[in-house]
C-alpha cells in the first residue's frame, strides 16, 4: 500500500469524509469529484498516478482535459455531462496523453451524483489505465487473425491436394483400365481366332492371362472405392440394417439360397450413411459366402445385440476361418490371410469395412479358428 499522504480538505468536511478520502487514496484507479459544471473538485492519489497531474494542477480544470481526444463533433463538456445525466452513466475509452508525454489507454466512467432531494450535486469521474489489458487484447487479436490466416491457407492447400487426388483417381480409373481391357480383349481374340492352332497348354496360358486381368480390374475398382470412401461426405440418417442385409443378399450373385443356410436375426436400425453401411454388409457377407463356399453345408448367421452405448452387429460363418495368430493383419490394406489359389481377393475388403465403421465412430473385430469358421463384430454408436 502506498504511503498515506496528508490531504487538505478541499471543501466543507462532512462526517466521515476524511475516512472516505483515505479510502479513495488506497486504490490505483483515478477517482475525481466534479462540480455540476464539470470542473475538478477532488483528485485522489490514483488520479495523480494515472494522469501524472497532481492535485494542485488538476483541481479547477474542466474534466474534458482528462478525457481522450475524440474525433466526433459533439464531445464538448456540456454534451458529455448531459449524456451522462440522461443515461445515468457514460463510458469513454481511448488513448490519451500522460503528463510526461507517454500514451496510455484510459477507460473512464462519468456518473452524475444527486442529493436526497434529487438535485444534481456534481459528477464522479473514475478512470483506469488499461494499457496492459488493451495491449493483451490487441496481441490476442493479432494472434487470432494470424491463426485464421494460417487456417485459411492450410484449407486452401488441402483443397489443392484433394483436387490432385481426384484427378489422380480419375486417371487411375481411366488410364489403367484401358490397357487392361486390351490385354483381356486381345487374349480372347487370340483364343477365338487361333484356337485350332493352339494346344491345351497354350490355351491354359491364355486363360491365366485373362484371369489375372480380371483380378487387376477388381483391384483397381476396390482401390478406387477405398480412396473415394476417405473423401466422401458422410450423411447421417436412420438406416434399416435388416432391409440392407436382405437387399445385399439378394444382389450378391454368389449367394445361392439353395445351398447357403442364412439366418437373419432381429437387426436394430441405426444412424449412419446408408451407402457406406451397405458397402460394409456387401463386404462382410460376400466374405462369409466366399470362405464358406467349400464346406458341405455352409451356414451364415447375422445378428445384433446392444452393447452399452453401441449396437453390435455380427456375421458368423462356418467356413475356412483363420488363424487368430494373424488376426492383427485382418484389417490392413492389401493384407490377406489366404492365398489367391485358395480364395481370391484383393486384400482391400476388410480394410474398407474398418474405414467405414470407424468413420461412424464404431469398431470392428474378427474372431476365427482355422477350418471352423469366422465371426466379425462391428459396432455403431446408438444415435
Amino acid at each position: 500500500m502506498p504511503a498515506q499522504p496528508k490531504l487538505p480538505a478541499a471543501s466543507a468536511a462532512e462526517p466521515g469524509e476524511d475516512l472516505f478520502r483515505l479510502l479513495l487514496d488506497c486504490t490505483d484507479d483515478a477517482i475525481a469529484m466534479l462540480d455540476p459544471d464539470g470542473r475538478i473538485r477532488t483528485w485522489n492519489l490514483g488520479a495523480h498516478h494515472v494522469f501524472g497531474y497532481d492535485q494542485a494542477e488538476a483541481i479547477g480544470k474542466p474534466f474534458t482535459f482528462f478525457l481522450p481526444p475524440h474525433q466526433s463533433g459533439n464531445d464538448d463538456a456540456a454534451s458529455y455531462l448531459s449524456r451522462a445525466i440522461e443515461a445515468g452513466k457514460l463510458d469513454v475509452e481511448g488513448w490519451q496523453k500522460h503528463k510526461d508525454g507517454s500514451a496510455f489507454f484510459a477507460t473512464t466512467i462519468l456518473t452524475p451524483l444527486h442529493d436526497t432531494s434529487g438535485a444534481l450535486r456534481g459528477f464522479s469521474l473514475t478512470a483506469r489505465d488499461s494499457t496492459q489489458q488493451k495491449k493483451l487484447e490487441e496481441e490476442n487479436r493479432t494472434l487470432h487473425e494470424k491463426l485464421e490466416e494460417k487456417v485459411a491457407q492450410r484449407t486452401a492447400e488441402l483443397a489443392v491436394v484433394n483436387k490432385e487426388l481426384e484427378a489422380f483417381s480419375y486417371s487411375v480409373s481411366h488410364d489403367l483400365r484401358t490397357p487392361l481391357r486390351a490385354i483381356s480383349g486381345y487374349s480372347v481374340m487370340l483364343q477365338e481366332d487361333y484356337a485350332s492352332q493352339l494346344d491345351a497348354e497354350a490355351n491354359r496360358l491364355i486363360s491365366v492371362i485373362m484371369r489375372n486381368t480380371e483380378m487387376m480390374g477388381q483391384l483397381i475398382d476396390d482401390l478406387l472405392t477405398f480412396s473415394r470412401m476417405g473423401r466422401l461426405q458422410m450423411i447421417s440418417e436412420n438406416v434399416s440394417m435388416e432391409r440392407l442385409v436382405r437387399e445385399v443378399l439378394k444382389e450378391l450373385p454368389q449367394h445361392d439360397p439353395e445351398r447357403y443356410k442364412v439366418h437373419i436375426g432381429a437387426l436394430s436400425p441405426c444412424k449412419g450413411d446408408p451407402g457406406m453401411l451397405k458397402q460394409v454388409w456387401v463386404n462382410l457377407l460376400s466374405n462369409a459366402l466366399k470362405y464358406s463356399s467349400r464346406v458341405e453345408s455352409p451356414e451364415i448367421t447375422i445378428g445384433c445385440r446392444e452393447n452399452g452405448a453401441f449396437l453390435e452387429y455380427a456375421v458368423t460363418d462356418n467356413g475356412a476361418g483363420f488363424d487368430m495368430r494373424y488376426a492383427n493383419k485382418l484389417f490392413g490394406v492389401f493384407q490377406r490371410l489366404h492365398r489367391t489359389d485358395e480364395f481370391e481377393g484383393t486384400g482391400l475388403g476388410l480394410a474398407l469395412v474398418q474405414r467405414i465403421v470407424s468413420k461412424h465412430g464404431g469398431d470392428i473385430r474378427g474372431i476365427g479358428e482355422t477350418g471352423k469358421g469366422a465371426a466379425f463384430y462391428f459396432t455403431i454408436p446408438r444415435s
Binding site: 480409373s173 483400365r177 481391357r181 486390351a182 480383349g185
Partner: protein, 159 residues
C-alpha cells in the same frame, strides 16, 4: 422423307485397341459394315458438320448412332456432346457415351447435356463385347431413328 443412308454408326475413339475390340464385337453381330471410325473429338466434329478433311462429305447424311469416348486428346467427348446437342440439326442424333471410368461428374454432365445412354466399358473383354453388340443392335436395329428433313428434325405434317 430422307431416311438415313450410308453411315449407321460413327465410332469416336482415340484408343486403337478399344476401337478394334468394339469393331470386332459389332462385326460379329453384322453391324460393322456401315461404321466410320474417327480418332478424336475434333475429327468427329469435322465429320458430323462436314468441315476440314470431311468438307466434301454430305453432312445431311446423319449416322443412326454415335458411340463416343470421353477422354480424348484435342476435343474431348463431353465437348463433342455439347456441340451436337447445341445444334438443332444434330441434336436428335442418338449419342452413347462409352468410357472407362464411371466418374460421377462425367455421368451428371453427360445427362445434363442430353446424352441418350452412358456406358462404362468393362475391363473384361467378354462382358465388353456383349455390351457393345447389345448396344449396337438396340440403337441400329431396334430403335426408330428420328426423321430428318433439310432443316433438321422433321415436324409432323398437318393435313
Amino acid at each position: 422423307m430422307n431416311t438415313v443412308k450410308g453411315v449407321e454408326i460413327l465410332l469416336v475413339e482415340d484408343n486403337m485397341s478399344d476401337a478394334e475390340l468394339i469393331i470386332r464385337a459389332l462385326r460379329k453381330v453384322n453391324l460393322a459394315n456401315n461404321l466410320v471410325h474417327v480418332r478424336d473429338g475434333a475429327e468427329a466434329l469435322d465429320f458430323i458438320f462436314g468441315h476440314g478433311d470431311h468438307a466434301d462429305r454430305n453432312s445431311e447424311m446423319i449416322p443412326k448412332v454415335i458411340l463416343l469416348d470421353i477422354k480424348m486428346p484435342r476435343v474431348d467427348g463431353i465437348e463433342v456432346l455439347r456441340r451436337l446437342k447445341d445444334n438443332a440439326r444434330t441434336k436428335p442424333i442418338p449419342v452413347v457415351i462409352m468410357t472407362s471410368s464411371k466418374e460421377e461428374q462425367d455421368v451428371i454432365t453427360s445427362y445434363q447435356l442430353g446424352v441418350n445412354s452412358f456406358v462404362v466399358k468393362p475391363v473384361d473383354f467378354t462382358a465388353f463385347a456383349k455390351a457393345v453388340s447389345e448396344l449396337g443392335m438396340y440403337w441400329v436395329l431396334v430403335n426408330q431413328p428420328p426423321l430428318f428433313n433439310e432443316s433438321g428434325l422433321a415436324t409432323p405434317s398437318t393435313p
